[in-house]
């Protein structure tokens, strides 16, 4: 009953997120050197990035556990956390201090992945419940 596409997506998401995290961190460092990036603006951006990393780890763990053990509770919790991750991704897409084109690209991909995962998670929950 476990959803194989969902599991594949979680797996790919894990790798992609590592890339995303490192890329965003590197770009923030680049921006702070090249542009004028005062501490007042740098601190929230970095903090949100780390929060997002924590949420992502939690989300992927719960989601994959729920999918493999065919329980809907962790999967539901993972869905809730996905909402938080989506908001953070939108922040990095629109409300960051400097949004580079590269930021737009990787955040768009991340949002697309989240969207796809959410749909598959809902379907999986429906399958497990029903």
């Amino acid at each position: 009953l476990s959803s194989v596409p969902l599991q594949i997506l979680f797996y790919i998401n894990g790798f992609y997120y590592i890339f995303y995290f490192l890329a965003t961190l590197a770009m923030i460092v680049y921006k702070s050197q090249v542009f004028s990036y005062p501490d007042d603006f740098l601190t929230p951006d970095l903090a949100l990035l780390f929060i997002m990393a924590v949420l992502e780890v939690l989300r992927l763990y719960l989601g994959s556990k729920g999918n493999l053990t065919e329980e809907e509770a962790p999967l539901g919790l993972s869905l809730v956390i996905t909402v938080g991750s989506v908001i953070l991704s939108v922040y990095f897409l629109i409300w960051q201090t400097y949004v580079l084109k590269a930021d737009v690209i990787i955040n768009a991909v991340l949002l697309f992945t989240y969207g796809l995962e959410s749909v598959l998670q809902v379907l999986a929950i429906a399958t497990f419940v029903g």
């Binding site: 004028s36 005062p38 629109i94 409300w95 400097y98 949004v99 580079l100 084109k101 590269a102 930021d103």
Partner: protein, 529 residues
């Protein structure tokens, strides 16, 4: 972007080869050879920005300028797509100074180099304020004395002789000023500056920026009548206001004398004011007021300093006695018994009649740096006896209580015994060459007293302080020959003070060469040591 032109330097005139200059007409463009500014864009780091391109079309006849407005795209993947930070890409216009932000702007821009980040981004800028609150303030020399509303005023003449109330009294700065205040008798009750209340109304802050107040008490009131006669009032607590009596305006403040008592921690603990009140009549248009302020340290008697620390030329030389039983009763002040009331070294003062025996005993204080000589003429008659004459002359020359010690610095305290120089006494005789046996039968009377004060420059070369090192009082005696009866002789008696500078030349003082303090470890040569 279309309106920006960096080569447009001349106002209302066409700049040569400037294709974007709005002042140029088509005829001017036809004379250009190239465009000095081919493109004007915004920040090139943005992903897409507008660009104005100017070029000359030389094919056409006459050449004409071509202007194109396009969107330039930055191909890099790191181009800025958007910013949420207003000042990101432009120079921020500086803040206009107003009275609120002036202090902050001065702190930020007032020094030789600006700080890299403005203080508004630093949260640390709030902490100095709170740490100051825990610091104890204290008055320092010259700092204006603060009162509840502003500063303690000591009216003084500014430019002209008219009183100005804007002169603050400085801490430990003894001042005395005189100035003229314009009054009118009809409104004398309304003029604040001649009423007592004006001078004692606001209380003095004990330390700057504190809430501890010291009230100004009225120490004494002296009434001065129109003809100048002064009487001291017995009751000091009644505040007297100016009022019109007959045709006079009475209780006008003619002089205020403030006495401030302070501790050595820089705190004011007492303030007293003595007033001189007078009366003016209807015709008077102005009144002269005099003000003074003096400072006394708590638990000390005010001893006027003759310099701080070195003696100041023209101020009296301070002297005194060592109390009996030193060193045990150390608490007794040295200046308890003084040459004169103020603890000064004095010499005989010449009088107009120059007769020694009629001298009233007037003495003048010895002023530092001023060599003085004074004297009188002694008329010796046959009837004078030797011993009382000797004693009288000694009293005349040395005074009633000639001191034993002289202060070496102008501000020497009586408690510091090492700061006081003992006076050395020498006796010489005028007739040292005479045969010895004439000494014994004749009378030796002192005829001159010479005080030699040796002083040296002490301290730094830039600001040397005068310090008395040695004081020698030499009494010269002469033989009094017995006179035939009926005859008299006049001999001069002199006393003098000489100041000699025995300073040694200044020596430069250099810091010691730095030494290299390198030692090998204890067990460096282990197997062998």
């Amino acid at each position: 972007v279309a309106k920006l032109c960096t080569c447009d330097l001349l106002v209302a005139q066409c700049d040569v080869n400037c294709c974007c200059d709005p002042d140029c007409s088509a005829a001017d463009f036809s004379l250009f050879t190239t465009c000095s500014v081919p493109i004007v864009t915004g920040d090139s780091r943005l992903c897409s920005q507008k660009a104005a391109i100017y070029s000359l079309d030389v094919e056409a006849n006459p050449p004409e300028r071509v202007f194109k407005l396009i969107d330039q795209v930055n191909p890099s993947v790191f181009c800025i797509h958007a910013t949420n930070y207003k000042q990101a890409l432009s120079f921020s216009s500086p803040e206009m100074p107003t009275s609120e932000n002036f202090d902050q702007l001065l702190k930020q821009f007032g020094s030789a180099a600006f700080s890299a980040e403005p203080d508004s981004w630093n949260i640390d800028s709030d902490t100095p304020n709170s740490s100051d609150a825990n610091e104890t303030y204290r008055y320092e020399y010259g700092v204006p004395i603060q009162t509840m509303d502003g500063f303690l005023r000591l009216p003084s003449p500014v430019v002209s002789s008219w009183c100005s109330d804007a002169n603050p009294a400085g801490f430990l700065v003894n001042q005395a000023t005189k100035c003229i205040r314009s009054v009118s008798t009809e409104k004398c009750g309304n003029i604040q500056a001649v009423s007592m209340l004006f001078y004692i109304s606001s209380s003095i802050l004990a330390v700057p920026k504190s809430s501890q107040m010291v009230n100004i008490t009225v120490q004494s009131i002296v009434l001065q009548s129109l003809n100048g006669m002064r009487t001291l009032l017995n009751s000091n607590d009644v505040l007297r206001h100016p009022m019109i009596l007959d045709e006079l305006c009475i209780n006008i403040v003619l002089g205020v004398s403030y006495h401030i008592t302070y501790t050595d921690a820089g705190q004011i603990i007492e303030a007293a004011a003595s007033f001189v009140l007078g009366a003016i009549n209807k015709e008077a248009l102005s009144v002269q007021q005099s003000f003074e302020i003096s400072f006394t340290q708590v638990n000390t008697k005010p001893v006027p300093l003759s310099g701080n620390p070195g003696y100041v030329v023209g101020l009296p030389v301070r002297a005194g006695f060592k109390p009996q039983g030193y060193p045990f009763p150390i608490a007794v002040l040295l200046s308890a018994l003084n040459t004169n009331k103020y603890g000064q070294l004095t010499i005989l003062q010449s009088t107009s009649n120059q007769d020694c025996l009629e001298a009233q005993g007037g003495r003048t204080p010895v002023l530092f740096g001023y060599n003085m000589i004074s004297g009188c003429k002694l008329r010796i008659t046959a009837a004078m006896k030797c011993q009382p004459l000797t004693q009288a002359l000694l009293d005349l020359l040395k005074g009633q209580s000639f001191p034993e010690y002289v202060a070496s610095f102008g501000n020497s305290q009586a408690q510091d015994v090492l700061d006081w120089v003992p006076i050395t006494h020498l006796h010489t005789s005028e007739q040292t060459m005479r045969i010895y046996n004439t000494f014994q039968s004749s009378c030796q009377i002192p005829v001159s007293l010479e005080i030699e004060v040796k002083w040296t420059k002490y301290g730094s070369l830039v600001n040397p302080q005068a310090r008395i090192v040695n004081v020698t009082a030499t009494t010269t005696t002469t033989t009094l020959k017995q006179l035939a009866s009926g005859r008299e002789r006049t001999i001069p008696i002199t006393s003098s003070v000489v100041f000699t500078d025995i300073s040694s030349p200044a020596e430069p003082g250099y810091k010691a060469w730095p030494t290299i303090n390198a030692k090998l470890p204890f067990d460096f040569f282990f197997p062998f040591v």
